[in-house]
């Protein structure tokens, strides 16, 4: 009755029988393939991000260029603040970018159907945000550093002095506390905004910021009600040098805060993973 003719598929059966047992949680080979697939699919978008960042920071460094023209723009404190501020915003936005893959039904279907484990998909996202996006960001800063100097020297006739790559930005490596804080806060930032992306797929970035803001207000509210501290500014003082921690040096306390942040990141990361595991196709067509 039907048009088709049955064709034997012998080799496929043979291959199937020789196929080794599959590791369904994490396979480095499959993970590598999944990462390669994603990089390939995103390369146009990543290039666009790179040039956008380089362009924005070129303009900022050009505008912030010291008037004496001797020191490179990247050494100015204002630029440092803008770079670190931009970095954390960019990383948070990248954490939220998971929502773009799972937001629309038409994208989510193909995302979930890829034969890779949830752990591999989740770890890939975290790794991109932790490694790829920071590399892309600082590479754009280096480009901006040189481009702004070229523009300054050609338009304003200032001495071309780009300095060393990321000059003045790398002092964090000299101090174990600063380094660990930046890493811990970056990871915390990533897992928080990734969790936000699994909770809200529309305007995930803004909603996560709003949720964090709300959480902050709730904490302060409970603090003032139950701990009896009416003054807003006394919060940090109370925690840092108050009754409970008077035996600690402030640096010890900051290590504790780092530790707490790590634990919080693990918890939020696990919740994010479980959310991904339970992710389904949404009801609405789009």
């Amino acid at each position: 009755m039907n048009d088709y003719h049955i064709t034997e598929n012998g080799p496929a059966t043979t291959i199937a029988s020789k196929h080794p047992a599959t590791n369904n949680f994490f396979s480095p080979r499959r993970f590598g393939r999944y990462c390669a697939k994603q990089i390939h699919e995103w390369k146009r978008g990543l290039l666009l991000q790179f040039f956008s960042l380089a362009g924005i920071y070129t303009i900022l460094m050009f505008l912030y260029h010291p008037s004496d023209g001797e020191a490179p723009a990247i050494t100015s404190t204002g630029i440092h603040i803008l770079i670190w501020f931009g970095f954390f915003i960019y990383i948070a936005k990248s954490g939220s970018s998971l929502a773009e893959q799972i937001g629309r039904r038409s994208k989510r279907v193909l995302y979930l159907a890829v034969p890779a484990s949830t752990a591999e998909k989740y770890i890939a996202h975290l790794l991109w945000t932790l490694i790829l996006y920071p590399i892309l960001f600082f590479a754009a800063i280096i480009v901006a550093q040189y481009a702004s100097e070229i523009i300054s020297s050609s338009i304003r006739g200032e001495v071309f002095n780009p300095g060393t790559p990321l000059q003045g930005m790398l002092t964090v490596w000299n101090d174990l506390y600063s380094l660990s804080t930046i890493i811990v806060w970056t990871i915390s930032n990533i897992v928080t905004f990734t969790l936000g992306a699994t909770l809200w797929q529309k305007n995930s970035f803004l909603k996560t910021i709003a949720a964090l803001f709300l959480l902050g207000i709730i904490i302060i509210f409970f603090y003032t009600i139950f701990v009896g501290k009416a003054e807003f500014g006394s919060l940090f003082t109370y925690i840092a040098i108050g009754n409970y921690f008077e035996n600690f040096k402030s640096i010890d306390l900051l290590w504790i805060i780092n530790g707490v942040t790590i634990i919080e990141s693990i918890i939020l990361g696990y919740i994010g993973y479980m959310r991904m595991k339970e992710l389904e196709i949404n009801e609405t067509k789009r």
Binding site: N2, D3, Y4, A12, N24, R30, R105, V109, A116
Partner: protein, 282 residues
């Protein structure tokens, strides 16, 4: 291969369940036509079969493994062609290279052959192609993966008339004994001469789950006949060319199956249809 047991699912707790105890077994070597009206749950059932949605009660297992666990070893045995999807902004070649590695039985020669059948050429940006072309690329890729289970949700939507004929040809050439293909559609004519088994969803249950041979041995389909020839018809409709009707088939004589007429009959008299297949007319 794929076993659905007592599937219950509802989008809203207060409303009637969209599936109310569905049982279905998908076996290799057959093309299944999943038919039903718009919004009856055909897409939902396909998403559940591929593990992208979870049942509220019951289970769906592929080779004994719950598909909702979405294990890689399960996902590499299933390919779903959704009704609507986005393809990445990369070339066909790059798409194939990056995605075929997840499917152990992918065959590049087959893929190229399907592209030829669809009269498609390589493109440098899949995202910029029309929906019909995207469908043809994905159907070609899906068949070339040689997954044991291939699910297609309204695959002919967005295809022009020649493409629908090409689609039938491609499905026919891509079918073999190790595969089972489930095609959901409300455009039943698109499946003509292509399917082995018909499943009709209606009112939260599977109204009919039978192979075409069983259907035509129970029912006789006649077209362009006079009114006198439709006496005792279970279903009949007047057309320009005369009457088309479904009649009981006491002799078991084979007649060409008219899926559209069967579907209309199933919707019009669901209980009668179920009774016929529960107690075949002799």
């Amino acid at each position: 291969m794929l076993q659905i047991d007592n599937l219950v699912f509802s989008y809203h707790k207060k409303k009637n369940p969209i599936f109310d105890g569905i049982n279905l077994s998908i076996q290799p070597g057959a093309v299944y036509g999943l038919l039903g009206k718009n919004g009856i749950g055909k897409s939902t059932l396909l998403y559940m079969m591929s593990g992208l949605m979870f049942p509220h009660k019951g289970s769906i297992r592929l080779d004994g493994v719950e598909v909702k666990r979405r294990l890689p070893e399960t996902l590499e045995k299933i390919f779903l062609v959704p009704e609507e999807f986005d393809l990445p902004a990369i070339s066909v070649d790059a798409y194939v290279r990056r995605n075929s590695v997840f499917y152990p039985h992918f065959n590049r020669d087959q893929f190229n052959r399907y592209l030829t059948d669809f009269e498609l050429e390589g493109t440098s940006n899949l995202a910029k192609t029309s929906m019909g072309q995207k469908k043809k690329y994905l159907v070609s890729f899906a068949l070339a993966t040689n997954t044991p289970l291939l699910l297609m949700d309204e695959p002919t939507n967005g295809m022009d008339i020649p493409s629908k004929s090409q689609f039938r040809k491609v499905i026919a050439s891509g079918m073999n004994e190790q595969k089972s293909i489930v095609i959901s559609t409300h455009q039943v004519r698109d499946l003509e001469n292509m399917i082995d088994r018909i499943d009709i969803l209606e009112g939260g249950r599977l109204l009919l789950d039978a192979d075409t041979g069983t259907i035509t041995s129970h029912l006789r389909f006649v077209k362009g006949v006079g009114e006198a020839d439709t006496e005792g018809a279970l279903y009949k409709v007047s057309t320009i060319a005369g009457y088309s009707a479904i009649l009981p088939n006491p002799t078991g004589e084979e007649s060409p199956l008219d899926i559209e007429m069967l579907f209309n009959y199933a919707i019009e008299a669901p209980d009668n249809l179920q009774r016929i297949f529960a107690n075949p007319v002799k």
